[in-house]
């Protein structure tokens, strides 16, 4: 088995005196889509924040392709190739869609040919952003904002794209569209770690999943095995199965 792209080992992290994550270990292989599921308050966002360097773990390590990035800070971590698309999109209001996308390439310099090529590519991936490129980003619809946030992340040319709450507040049709686009982005070589409250969507998108519960990893397997596991069905898919039945 090849070396993992991202490996998080026995992380303990939290805010001040409140510890949220307890001995959390996850990994993402090159070219893989991995999902992180769990209920509210389980620590999913805290885990992403620790990986992206917003939080420094009390113990444990974060490695990208073997290189230790623990506590390196967001700047070094973005530069190394990990990008965190935050929950709630958090686009820069007052800046146009194009300016938002360029902010994603902040560390690469806005004028370089590579950045211009990536901008064209992102606009080609999301044609609706191309139509609205000079529009204030805060005027976009929810789905378009998520596209812009993902596009902004891609502008950093990441090796690993982390998306917090992909589908939250979006119409099912938009979510399907995003899932398709992410699969295409993944095919072109970018590994993806996605936090998703809609477990059915998460399991359909990803190849492998981790289940986080009150700060601990309680299950990890292929998404197929997770979907068939009675505990997962009971805890996370129960309501939906009843509805579907």
């Amino acid at each position: 088995m090849s070396q993992p792209l991202l490996s998080v080992e026995t992380i303990n992290a939290g805010y001040g005196l409140v510890s949220v994550l307890h001995d959390v270990s996850i990994s993402v292989m090159p070219g893989e889509i991995v999902c992180l599921i769990g209920s509210n308050g389980a620590g999913k966002t805290t885990l992403l924040r620790t990986i992206s360097g917003v939080l420094t773990p009390a113990s444990g390590s974060v490695r990208l392709d073997g290189a230790d990035l623990t506590g390196a800070g967001t700047k070094a971590i973005v530069r190394a190739g990990i990008v965190h698309v935050p929950e709630g999109r958090r686009l820069f209001a007052g800046l146009s869609v194009r300016e938002n996308l360029l902010m994603g390439a902040y560390l690469r310099g806005a004028g370089t040919p590579e950045v211009r090529r990536d901008l064209d590519r992102v606009l080609a991936t999301f044609p609706r952003l191309a139509e609205r490129a000079s529009q204030d980003a805060s005027t976009l619809s929810g789905g378009e904002q998520q596209m812009c946030a993902i596009g902004r992340g891609l502008m950093a040319a990441p090796r690993l794209l982390m998306i917090d709450e992909l589908s939250l507040g979006l119409a099912p049709k938009v979510v399907d569209e995003l899932v398709e686009t992410l699969a295409a982005i993944n095919k072109s070589g970018t590994a993806i770690l996605v936090v998703e409250q809609d477990v059915a969507t998460a399991l359909a998108l990803a190849q492998r999943g981790f289940v986080l519960d009150t700060g601990r990893i309680v299950a990890s397997d292929s998404t197929r095995a997770l979907a068939e596991s009675p505990e997962i069905q009971k805890a996370y898919l129960g309501a939906e199965l009843e509805l579907a039945g």
Partner: protein, 294 residues
């Protein structure tokens, strides 16, 4: 004709005011720091221009970029070494800090330069333009020094706008203003952006000081008056937008000109603060009524 003359005087004054308020508004908007030091930075820039002219013979208008650079360095250092320590504290803490720093700087200037009012007396003076020489129907005069200072001041504000909207660092400043957390996820080092922003604010103050050195008396005691004007302009125009600074600056300039004519020049400061209080009561969002992003 008199009303037109007063209006022209007010617009000339207002353009210069806009450059005083630009940096103050930027720092307030981006850092959420009410920089009490701003007025002292204006005075420091004016003193630098005064000594550059009297000792070295450098024309104040040519000295504007030098004043901006020197004040940029001072502002950058003050922010990075001192103000950054309290940047996440409530706004009152940084206000108190910059208030302390301004007492320090004002007293250093008092000690070094004395409280005498000084002024750059340009030799030869720039004179006046009598508009009726060109348009006989319009009987007003325009002092050339004020006209030139206003033109440079508006150029400065336009430069600030260009910097914020068309450059990578400017985009990062706007991004940090809008969402610090999201900006840091893009790899933006917010501490450095804060320091650069504070530096740009100080540079604007220094440049404004150099521009007004041939027009207004220079004294360490003037710093609070400049600070007060910056305050009123930000409230008038709406906080943190370049267009707001221009609108607010010109509005204050025109109002002060008419006020000085009607009530006497000694009441112009009273008038601006009365206006400030009225605005805070009746229209706290400013004349333009929108939250700016610079």
């Amino acid at each position: 004709m008199l009303a037109l003359q007063i209006l022209v005087n007010g617009i000339l004054l207002g353009g210069i005011y806009a450059s005083i308020a630009g940096g103050f508004s930027l720092v307030w908007g981006v850092l959420n720091v009410i920089n009490i030091l701003h007025g002292s930075f204006v005075v420091l820039g004016a003193y630098m221009a005064f000594f550059a002219y009297t000792l070295l013979g450098i024309h104040p208008y040519l000295f504007v970029p030098i004043a901006a650079l020197l004040l940029f360095a001072i502002g950058l250092a003050v922010q990075y070494a001192i103000v950054n320590r309290v940047i996440d504290a409530p706004v009152l803490v940084s206000l108190t800090l910059t208030f302390g720093l301004t007492l320090f700087l004002d007293n250093v200037m008092l000690n070094a330069f004395k409280a005498d009012f000084r002024k750059v007396n340009l030799r030869p003076p720039l004179g006046i333009i009598d508009v009726s020489d060109y348009l006989p129907a319009i009987d007003i005069i325009v002092p050339v020094d004020r006209l030139a200072s206003m033109a440079f001041a508006i150029l400065l504000v336009a430069l600030l706008y260009w910097l914020l909207r068309r450059t990578s660092i400017g985009r990062a400043i706007v991004a940090v203003r809008m969402d610090r957390y999201a900006a840091s996820l893009m790899g933006v080092d917010t501490r450095i952006i804060f320091a650069v922003t504070f530096g740009i604010g100080a540079a604007m103050a220094g440049a404004a000081g150099a521009l007004l050195s041939p027009i207004f008396p220079i004294s360490p005691l003037a710093s609070t008056a400049y600070l007060g004007k910056a305050f009123v302009i930000c409230i008038l125009g709406g906080l943190g937008s370049v267009t707001g600074v221009l609108v607010g600056g010109v509005a204050l300039g025109v109002l002060e000109s008419f006020g000085a004519y009607i009530f006497g020049p000694e009441h112009s400061l009273t008038l601006s603060f009365t206006l400030l209080i009225l605005l805070l009561i009746f229209r706290p969002t400013g004349l333009l009524g929108k939250r700016g992003f610079i």
